[in-house]
Amino acid sequence: MIVADRKSLEEILAMVREKRKILIVGCRGCVTVCNVGGEKEVEILAASINLARKTSDQPIEIDTVTIERQCDNEYVALLKEGIGTYDAVVSLACGVGPQFLSEAYPNQLFFPGVNTTFFGGAVSHGIWEERCQGCGTCIIHNFDGLCPIARCAKSLLHGPCGGSSDGLCEVSKETLCIWDMIVKKKMEQGRLTDLLKVIEAKDWSSARDGGPRRSIREELIP
């Protein structure tokens, strides 16, 4: 899923400083699963903004709504009624959400309420880790399901580098060296010789380096 972190309350309050009536829009997709922009978080943000504005004697009217997915025009269209009546709309979806909203409602002012961080998953309750970089050409089968593109700070195809120590990456003591894990897994499985194979330089044109990407599936186009 796409993982995000909510922006600080201070930053969001600054965004809506002059506004008298706002709408906070949540998303039932990835941001609900990573507990940052679902129905519950929308209500918490609304209560926090309301409390802050009440204490500073600048009352604000806040409406809230959470739609199925903000990255789908079908659901974005459900906001049609009333959307033009707000001074601002804060989206708690990933970066895709506020863009779909502003494309659908060009006259409405939108603000992102979260910082979209990575593609990953929850390793335990409350802790998410990056697992994919969306490079467009998956090669994890070469590394026993461990992705050195997303999980090595240098995205090395042949590792580990000299910065690997005691299974940790030199970038941070909390970052595991994925190459240490790959080598250990290959040894455990008796397939260390796989790593003698030289992998050709990666073609990064399928990643962000090739510019914004598009996916077309002819069979689905009406």
Binding site: L9, E10, K40, I44, A47, S48, L51, A52, K54, T55
Partner: protein
Amino acid sequence: MRLSYPPEIKVIQVPCTGRVDIIHLLNALENGADGVYVAGCLEGECHYRTGNLKAKKRVGYVKKVLAEIGMDPGRVEMFNLSSAQGKRFAEIADEITARIIELGQSPVNKREKAKAAV
């Protein structure tokens, strides 16, 4: 025992403090409570194992929100006591009431009362 505690306190019963969510604490403050405290079981003695520990973290989250918006984080608090500690319950009620009296009215109430006076 016939212990008394300050009449300013409104008790809201929940089956376990794990039921108390961030939004409940924020809503109380939004609606004019001068302070909110959660009285849970002793740590390690939750019947549902971790309800009181979850409540403690949620109280911590609300404290951070209050600090961010310039309200004293001491307006929310978590206490732990067993259901057999009636005396401690009354002590805590006295303690939090004294703290809130010292902090004064919630800024939410101050503004609204000032307006009413005008």
